[in-house]
Every structure is written in structure tokens, then in C-alpha cells.
Symmetry: C2
Subunit: 549 residues, 2 copies
């Protein structure tokens, strides 16, 4: 452990003592939520969102200890440093400037960036970001109004995003959340997995002659994306179509996807100072979302994210929604010992949020090493999972109520998209029924219930937060996205880890490369015998080639 | 605790001592997997599936202790009792006969069933099950060949399943897994969530005049399902269509959905001795799957499940795939202390498997009380979550490799559906690339890697199992489904809990009912003031009615 370890801070020790007190029966949530001013004290409004943590297992002193911890770590200053272009991704010697992609301020954002790290010279990245935004606006408008057409003169009807992980999940989340705004005549699809059945299902769905393929890869070397692109090349060739008319790339300047020798319809740039899982508001999300929703809706989405960024950077710690949410998360994780967290949006449109936040949080904070290379003294990163409510109630909430406890973050939306369907059942609309369930679950988890029949007892004292959006507007989806991004980096800043690298994915890639080479060898030379010094590996390779387990 | 507690068994104590030994450095997985015969000893083939648990943290003695535990609990006999119609769902005084729905044996299955529980009289349920299967076969054939048409004489093109939880997830899993077999000209959709946006999105998608609505609810009182049906009634009326031509029900005999006074196109029966989460092979899955895939494919699916049931009932404990998988799960959960489990299918077609198994496992085994009503001495139920590989690698696997460890169950498929796309990248096909990654992940998690840079170190010793299917045939999907069902009940039999009830969902329903009543009151009487004795409840009700947070 290092002298910078968060666990050595007196503020950490204090929080630990508070946590011990919360185990007492008198601090059961069923009592806490009945205290006067409970909701007033433990809820906040900011950047258009209402955040209620009154049903978390904490009291005034716990909250004060946590805020003290945040202040001792100076996490809001670090957030501002991040927004200002400091090299916060130290292991990769990079800034982390996803916030710049949604800045509409006239202020410059100066960063050194790689290739420039030897000196102190810094350049303003905003002109480049504005240029790319304008390119996205013009390109999407040209596709929509028919200025850009296929070689045969047809308008495009479908767009397929070819990308994986950070080049996929965030865009899928935003596109699903905003689907009721999609009125541009473009259907959006995602080809992410290298599984050939993913490709097979897509090409069975889209019309070859009016489909745009949007290839998203920073390095343009991602194995899955390149393998899928390779299949698409075959598909285009079979249909007498050309890459230069049907492929768009989002990639780093000068990558193999941005090479004039291999012409494509259009190439948009992404930057190495924006990590994949934080890239939805860059061209990564911008190109597909502007095609699907129109650029204006995409810009509204950016502006919502910008508003939350500014809230995260400037609202005082005790009024700062994502900062408080990060503290609550660490409280549950390290002080109360919950290893997992449920994320349950009471909105079908947010069905892809859990998968995106699962990636954002677990890839950012699933680390064991602090910034100075020493071992982290506590567990970082929670297992995040979830499904929309009320569906989740009919699925795994049995365990949430009577099995192993885990904290839950509920999300509610005050007004649905389709509020014209007002037929009532049992005196309430569907939306009101949904809302009644959202309210009831948090209450039931907190209060519990005694019963003579042990199978019908509920221990209660199960914590949750609730986050409320006004509606599913592009601004609100942007705010929600930026809320979770800020929450994630605030957590990392408290732990003292780097939320922007992902070395943990490298070992599997290396090993897959070794295995790929052996498979390629066998493809070339069918007489090749797999090495039987590793019988497990040999067994699986034999299954692959014999096509039977 | 009771004298029947599993933790009082000497076999449990022995396993606990084995677990202590597994913490020694010499038992790190990187050593274990290099032992001669490791794979041979710790893998099994049965009912068409290859199950490899060689990368679980156990050795010969651990395995022997676990098998002894299974034998001490007599779990295979309990499984046979279950299949024979014993009242294994004791809290609800019911049998659990999902296995009967896929029995093609001529043998009777005698059960008392409710309403008959006073005496010993039992009846054979197989004639009724065969009758319903024949109804499904005839009905789906009639829809496909046009004998059953709309009132205007058109053939049906779309079917929407209205159901939630157990009436939804299993069917969605099977339909997604078998989508490449769907050649009957019927598109299948799911309307589950009470969220009006779920309904709004569906009605924007389907053609009113050629859509069948399949309403699935055992009691026909499920709030979400009835609220959605109510919206559908409005939609049909607006389009001049009638329930008797467009609605099919799957419900209990004599329920409000099976009432001649309210005619529907066809009503299929389900039984109270089949729990929702185990009901995919009954009419619940049968009606939509036969419409989507054709009855013949559905019957192949049933036969695969039957084969696995018979394997689970008859294969000796140490050769019994789902039984061993249940032991491994309990080993990881209670002896090695992992609270969660990842389920990662390397097959896009299995993308809905994690959500179905999440429900199956967490709703069945998320319990705190044993069969005799005493408190369970250990945690039962794991948190189950997952996404398809390789997608998951690019999402949350950072945490799997370098953060909080959790065991993983990988699933591979030897032959994909779309194996005609044989273009290669880096010398391998997409399917081979997928396979290389499946192999590499399990190896990397087990072995780990040291490095001078602490951020690039991998501790390894992270356990996984791998399950291999030959292909995505209906039989194999049936086998896979029945594997997880059997695994789930075997776990419950070891813990001594009832995997067939779900009292944990009741409290939230009751509270939602109270809140619904208050909302309905306000709808009737806009002057109604919400009670401010509970400021949290009042706050949320005000948000709902003011439409702003």
C-alpha cells in the first residue's frame, strides 16, 4: 500500500465507524425513512434531474463523513482538471476529454496530447471538435435530403454500425432511448459480435442497395470489427456495390480506415484522448445518431450532457448529483459490503442503459492498482446489472427482496413518449401503474414486513436510490449519460485509480492471437496436428475442426 | 436453524475443509490445469452436451466431497419424485411438472394436484398434456396454411406475446435462439412491460389487420398483462377489429381468459403445477414458438429437453451434467464465497439466455427459508448476469480479469447457423475467431500473468466452466434449457429450499396496489390531496401528477 491510499485517510476511518453504527437495529431503513425531513435532507435536484437517496442506509453523520472524504480527495478539482485537458489517463499518457465533445462554450480546451508530451506546448482542440460536428451535421442532412445517394441514385434507408464495446453500447443505448424521435426514414442496426450469425442475421434484414455501413474503430485494427468489415466487403462485391459508396468510417486520423488509397464515402475522426466507453458524444455516437434522429436531436443530446458536466464541475460537493451518487456507490461497495448493484429503469426506452453502464462502470473501475502502481487496499468496481421494471420485478426481484441483498438504482420518467394512450385499468393508466410499481418497490425493499409464515417474511433494510427524469427528451438522455460518466470518474478519483485505461482486456487478446495463429496454420495445412502438450487447448481445437463436441 | 440444515451434514463440513485447502498457492488454477488428466477428470459428455469444469477451483477430493454431499441429500431421487408428480412445491401444495410437458413416453404421470390434496387420489395428467400439444399443432398449422384467417380473409403475419416474467422471458430466449429456423412467415414480438411506451412502440410496428395477440397469464389477473390487453382492446376497436378474431389466450382452465362469455379466437390451457419460469415447454412457449417456427421445430425442442430431463434423472451423480453444475455453483457460492456468476454465451443467438437464466435461478433460489420454515444458514442464490462474447470482453471483462473476481459459465457452439460465410481475416473465419476468443478467455482467467508494470499484472485463479453445444438445433436449445432447469432445482434440493414458489414478489405487489388505489382516487377526484404523513410517497405522487420532477 502507498501513502496515498484512500484507506489511510482519517475521513475513510470515520466513514468506517459510521458504517458500523448503521448495522444497529435502530438504524434499519424502516425507521430512517420515517424521520422528519428524511427526503428533504437526502435528495437533490440539479441539471434537470431529481436524485433521491433517502432510502440509502446512511444518516447525517455518514453523509458528512462521505462529503469530507470527497473533499479530502479533491475530486471536483480533479474533474475540472480532466475537463481542462490535464493528462488524467496517466498510464497511457493522455487527457480524457469526452466533455469537450459536448462543449458549446467559446472557451478553448488546451491539451498537450500524445506526440506532444515531451514539452508543455498545448493546442486548443475545440476548433477540430467543432469542425467534426459540422461535418456530421452536413453529412446527415445530405443523406436525409438525398444530396448523398447510392451510385444507382437511391436514397439510403438503413445504416449498420459495425463496432464493438465502446464503439457500440453507448450508441445503442442512446438510439434505443430516443427511438420515438427517429423520423428521418433511416433504420439503425448494430453488427458488433464477431459471431458470423450476427452478420448472417443482419444481411438477411437489410436491403443491400440502400444500406450504409458505419465502421467504427479508433485504430481500425479491432479484430471483430475488421472481420465483420471483411464479410461486408464480400457482401458488397456480391451485390455489385462499392465501398466508396456504402462505407463510412469513424476512426483516428491517418488510420487504415482513413487512407485515401482505400476510398470510402466519408471518414470522420476520433481522438485518442477519448476512451471508447466515453465516446457516445463524439463522432462515434454522432454519425449514427445524427443519421437516425437528425443532427438537431443529436445536438440537443449533447447540450444535455454539457449541462450535467457543468453541474458536476461546479455544484458544491454536497449539492452535486453525480458526486453524491459516487459516494453512495462507494459507501455501499466498501463500507456496507455489497458486491453488486442493480440498475432498474422504469422505462422500456432505457432498456439498454444497464448494459452501457455495466461497461462504463466495470471497465473503468474494475481495477486493482492505484495511480502510483500500488495495490488498491479495497475492492473497486461493483458488478452492475439490470433490466427494465416492471419486468425485473417478475424476474429476479425475488432475490432482491428475500435473498442476497444488493443496492438498486431505480430510474423513473415523469412523462412517457406515448402519452396519448389513456385507457385505464383498475382506475389508472399504464404509465400510472408503472409509476405505482416504481414507488412500491423502493418502499418494500426498505421497510420489509413481518409475517407468521417465515416464507412470507421480508427483512427489509435493502437500500435504493431513485433518479427521476422529466421525460425522454434528447437533453434528458444526454444528462443521464453524463451523470453516469461523472459518477464513474468521481468513484475512480476517490479510490485513486485510473478509470480511462483497460489493461485487463489485453491478456485475453494476446492468447486469442496465439490460438488464432494455430487455427490459421491448420486452415493452410489440414495435416497440421495440434500440440497435445496442452490437452485442454487441443480438445477445443479438435471440437472446432471436427465440428462436434 | 433446523436439524435438517445442510450445514450440519458432515459432508458439508468436509467440503468446507477442502475449500480452505484451495486457498493455498499450490492450488492456483495455473498449476491445477497443468496436471495430467485434468480435463479428462473434470469434464463430462451427456445428453448431447460437453461440460468442462476443469478450470473450476477444485481437485479430486473437493469433487468427491461435493458428490458425497449430493448423495447425502438424495437430490437425484428428489428430482425423480418431482418428475413423478410428488408435491415438491410444498408451500403452495403443488407438484412441479414442467418435465411432463416434454414427455413423449407412454407412461402415465400421476399427480394429486390442488383441489385434490385432501386425499390420495391421483390422476394421469399426460392425456391432457397430449391433447394441448395436438391443439397447438393443429392451430399453428391452420394459421400457416391459411385455414385460420382474419375476418377479412387475410393470412396472419405478426404475433405479439402479451405476458411478463415467466410468461415472456423463456419464450423470448427460445425464439431468439432459434430465429434462423423461422420460415413460417410470422414475425414475433413481445409486449411485456406495463410501460405505455412498450405498447406504443409495438403498435407502431405491427399491421393491425393481420396481427394475432397471444395473451399469457395463468390467473388472467396479472396487472401488467391485463393493462396491456386493455390497450390492445382499444387498438382493435379503433381499427374495427374484434377480439374473437385477433386474440388467443394461454391461461388456466376457467380463468377470465377462458370464459365463453368473452370469446377469443382460441384458448389454450396451462396448469398450476407448472411455474411460470419453468413453463417454456408448455403452451406458454408452445403457442408462440409453434406459430413462429412451426410445430415440428417446437416438438424437436421438446425432445431435446426430454433427453436432458432423463439424463438428470438417471445418470449417476458423478456423471450427471446438471447435477455437477449445481454442485460447482454451490461450491463457488458457499465455499469459495463468490456472490455472483457470469453467463457468457459465445453465440449471438443465445443473447437472451442470460436474462432467462437470471430469472430462473434468482427467482427460484433467491430464498432465505428452508422447506421446514427455518432460516437458511448460508446464502442461497447467486446474482446471475451476462452478455454474449466477444461483446462482453469489450465491456465488463476488465473487472473479470483485474477487479472483483466472479466465476463464469462460458457457452460455445461448434457450428454456427450461417456457416456459408467463409471469408477469412488473419487466416481464420469469423466463427474461428469467435472460438479462439472463447478458448483464450477461460485460459487467461485461470492462468493470469505477471508483469513488471503492476497495471499489467493478472492474478489469475479465476474460475470458469465451459459448456459446448454441437449447433443451434431445436434439440440443443431444448437440452440447454432443461440443463439449467435441472441445475436450478438440484441447487435448491441441496440447500433444502423450495425453488417453485416466489413469495418475495408479493410485498411489492401489495404496496403497488395501495398506491394504485390512491392514484385512481385522484384520477376520479382531481381535488384529492395526497396524504402528507408519508412525504416520500407524496413527493412521487406529486411528480406523477404535476409531470415534473
Amino acid at each position: 500500500m502507498t501513502k496515498n491510499a484512500v484507506t489511510l485517510l482519517p475521513e475513510w476511518t470515520n466513514a468506517g465507524m459510521d458504517a458500523g453504527r448503521m448495522g444497529l437495529g435502530e438504524n434499519h431503513l424502516k425507521h430512517l425513512i420515517r424521520l422528519p425531513d428524511r427526503l428533504k435532507k437526502f435528495s437533490r435536484r440539479g441539471a434537470g434531474i431529481f436524485y433521491d437517496f433517502s432510502r440509502q442506509r446512511l444518516d447525517d453523520e455518514c453523509f458528512r463523513s462521505l462529503i469530507n472524504l470527497a473533499q479530502a480527495r479533491g475530486i471536483r478539482q480533479r474533474f475540472r482538471d480532466m475537463m481542462a485537458g490535464e493528462i488524467v489517463n496517466t498510464t497511457e499518457n493522455r487527457a480524457a476529454l469526452h466533455t469537450a465533445t459536448r462543449s458549446f462554450s467559446d472557451d478553448p480546451v488546451m491539451t498537450a496530447g500524445p506526440g506532444n508530451t515531451g514539452g508543455t506546448a498545448r493546442t486548443d482542440i475545440m476548433p477540430e471538435i467543432r469542425r467534426i460536428r459540422a461535418e456530421i451535421r452536413n453529412f446527415s442532412a445530405d443523406v436525409h435530403n438525398g444530396n448523398i445517394r447510392t451510385a444507382a441514385g437511391k436514397q439510403f434507408t438503413d445504416a449498420v454500425v459495425i463496432g464493438i464495446g465502446g464503439s457500440y453500447l453507448g450508441t445503442e443505448f442512446a438510439a434505443t432511448a430516443l427511438a420515438c424521435w427517429a423520423d428521418k426514414g433511416i433504420r439503425l442496426h448494430f453488427l458488433s459480435n464477431v459471431d458470423i450469425d450476427n452478420f448472417g442475421a443482419i444481411v438477411r434484414t437489410v436491403p443491400a442497395d440502400t444500406t450504409l455501413w458505419i465502421v467504427i474503430s479508433k485504430s481500425y485494427t479491432t479484430a471483430e470489427t475488421l472481420a465483420n468489415l471483411n464479410q461486408v466487403r464480400g457482401f458488397l462485391a456480391e451485390n455489385g456495390l462499392e465501398e466508396k459508396n456504402h462505407v463510412v468510417t469513424v476512426t483516428s486520423k491517418g488510420s487504415p480506415g482513413d487512407d485515401p488509397a482505400n476510398p470510402v464515402l466519408r471518414s470522420f475522426h476520433m481522438f485518442d484522448f477519448i476512451g471508447g466507453r466515453y465516446s457516445v458524444t463524439s463522432a462515434v455516437g454522432g454519425v449514427p445518431l445524427a443519421l437516425y434522429l437528425g443532427y438537431d436531436q443529436f445536438e440537443r443530446f449533447l447540450k444535455g450532457a454539457e449541462e450535467m458536466d457543468n453541474h458536476a464541475a461546479t455544484a458544491p460537493d454536497a449539492e452535486n448529483l453525480p458526486l453524491i451518487a459516487a459516494l453512495v456507490s462507494i459507501w455501499n461497495n466498501n463500507f456496507l459490503g455489497y458486491p453488486a448493484q442493480g440498475l432498474i429503469p422504469y422505462a422500456s426506452a432505457l432498456s439498454k442503459l444497464p448494459a452501457h453502464i455495466q461497461q462504463l462502470s466495470m471497465e473503468s473501475n474494475g481495477k486493482s492498482v492505484t495511480l502510483d502502481g500500488s495495490a488498491l487496499a479495497v475492492s473497486s468496481g461493483s458488478i452492475i446489472f439490470g433490466e427494465p421494471g416492471t419486468n425485473a420485478q417478475h424476474s429476479f426481484f425475488q432475490l432482491a427482496h428475500q435473498g442476497r441483498p444488493f443496492p438498486i438504482e431505480f430510474i423513473g420518467v415523469a412523462t412517457p413518449c406515448y402519452d396519448t394512450y389513456t385507457r385505464t385499468s383498475k382506475g389508472v393508466t399504464n404509465h400510472q401503474e408503472l409509476w405505482a410499481n416504481l414507488m412500491a418497490q423502493a418502499q418494500a425493499l426498505a421497510e420489509g414486513k413481518t409475517d407468521d409464515n417465515p416464507a412470507k417474511c421480508f427483512t427489509g433494510n435493502r437500500p435504493s436510490s431513485t433518479l427521476i427524469l422529466q421525460d425522454l427528451s434528447p437533453e434528458n438522455i444526454g444528462r443521464l449519460l453524463a451523470f453516469y460518466e461523472a459518477k464513474t470518474v468521481f468513484e475512480a478519483f476517490i479510490w485513486g485509480i485510473n478509470p480511462f485505461d483497460q489493461y485487463g482486456v489485453e491478456l485475453g487478446k494476446t492468447m486469442a492471437g496465439d490460438i488464432r495463429n494455430e487455427i490459421a496454420e491448420k486452415n493452410k495445412n489440414p495435416g497440421y496436428q495440434f500440440d497435445n502438450r496442452d490437452p485442454i487447448r487441443k480438445c477445443y481445437l479438435d471440437i472446432l475442426f471436427d465440428k462436434k463436441p
